[in-house]
Symmetry: C2
Subunit: 193 residues, 2 copies
C-alpha cells in the first residue's frame, strides 16, 4: 500500500457532502515524503511522453507539481486565481472554473508567454472530483495550441464525474489513489487500486 | 554566481515602483533547478538548528518551501489567505498581512493543530521587501508558542525595510540573493552577495 493510502486511512477525515479532509499531510500541512512518492509514481507513468511542461493551479497543486517537474527536469507553470501587479498589461489566456465547495465561478489566468504550440503538458492536481479545475487547465492548454499529455492526480473520487469529463475531453487520467466511497464516514478505495 | 542570480540578470524584468518580475522562473513559471539550488543552500545554512517544521504562505512560497522541507525531512505548513470549507469550525490562529502592491490588508490563517510549543520553525518566502508576510508568519508562530529558527528568503530587496523589521522581531534572515537597487531598470546586487 502506498504512503498516500496509508495516510488517508490513518489521518484523513470524512466530512458531510463527501468531503475528505487531508489537511495534515496534503492540503495545508504537507508531508514531503508522501508528495515525493506521488511525484515519482506520476513521473514513472508519463516518463516516455515527451513532457515539456508541468501545469497546475494555485495553491494546493503547487507542491506535488513542483516535485513532478523536478522529476521530469522541466518547468512548472501554475495558473493564478487573480491577476498580480506584474501581469497587468501582459497577454493572458483566461478560463472560468466553478468551485462546488464555495459555489462561485472564478477566472483562472496564465500569461500567454509560458505555453505555446510546441509544449506537451502534464496537468497535476491534488484532487479530482467534478473535474472543474482540470477542465479549466485543459482549456488553457488548448487556447495556447499546446498538447495535453495527460492529467496526474493525487486523490480521485471515482463516484464523482471528473474522470469521465477529462476522458471525454481527450485526456488520459492517472491517479495515485482512487476512492470509491466516503459513505458513513468510511474511506473505501476503488478495486484494482 | 548562483543559478538564481544568473536568471535574475537574464530573465528578470524591472517595473516601476521597484517591482522585479521573475514570473518566468520563480513566481508563475517555476524552474525546479533554480528552486532546488535555493532549497539546498537554505538547508545547509540552517541544518544544525533542530528545525521541525517549514512554514510559508500561499501561493508563491509553496514551491521553495516544499523543497526546503524535503531537504530537512520535516513537514511543510502553508498559511492560507481564505478559510477553506474543511477548516470551518476548526480552531485557528489568525493574523493580518498588508499587501503594498494590492493595497489591501487580509487575514492569514492556519489551523491550530499543526503548530505547537515543541516546534522549531523555519519560515520561507520568495521575496523580502517590506517584510509584511514574514512578520505575519512570525506572529502566527508566536501565537502557537513555537520558536522561530529563522527566515529563509529567495530574493531580498535590501533597500526596503523587511530585514530590519524581521531582525527587530528577533529572527535571523538568510537570503539567497540580495538586491541593493532596481534604479533605472537595472538590477544591482548587494556587496558581499
Amino acid at each position: 500500500m502506498s504512503n498516500l493510502k496509508e495516510r488517508i486511512l490513518k489521518d484523513g477525515q470524512v466530512f458531510p457532502n463527501n468531503v475528505l479532509k487531508v489537511d495534515s499531510f496534503l492540503n495545508h500541512q504537507i508531508d514531503p515524503t508522501v508528495v515525493k512518492e506521488i511525484a515519482t509514481e506520476i513521473h514513472k507513468h508519463f516518463a516516455d511522453r515527451g513532457i515539456t511542461k508541468v501545469f497546475t493551479i494555485e495553491a494546493s497543486g503547487i507542491a506535488p507539481a513542483i516535485l513532478v517537474a523536478a522529476a521530469f527536469e522541466v518547468p512548472m507553470l501554475f495558473a493564478k486565481k487573480s491577476v498580480p501587479s506584474t501581469m497587468h498589461g501582459a497577454d493572458k489566456y483566461v478560463t472560468k472554473v466553478h468551485s462546488y465547495t464555495k459555489d462561485i465561478t472564478s477566472d483562472v489566468i496564465i500569461s500567454q508567454q509560458y505555453l505555446n504550440e510546441d509544449d506537451v503538458v502534464l496537468i497535476i492536481d491534488d484532487f479530482l472530483a467534478n473535474g472543474e479545475a482540470s477542465i479549466g487547465l485543459i482549456d488553457l492548454v488548448k487556447q495556447a495550441g499546446a498538447k495535453v499529455a495527460g492529467v496526474g492526480i493525487c486523490i480521485e473520487k471515482t463516484f464523482q464525474p471528473g474522470r469521465q469529463r477529462l476522458e471525454e475531453a481527450g485526456a488520459e487520467v492517472y491517479s495515485i489513489c482512487r476512492i470509491a466511497s466516503l459513505e458513513d464516514g468510511q474511506v473505501t478505495f476503488a478495486e484494482g487500486n
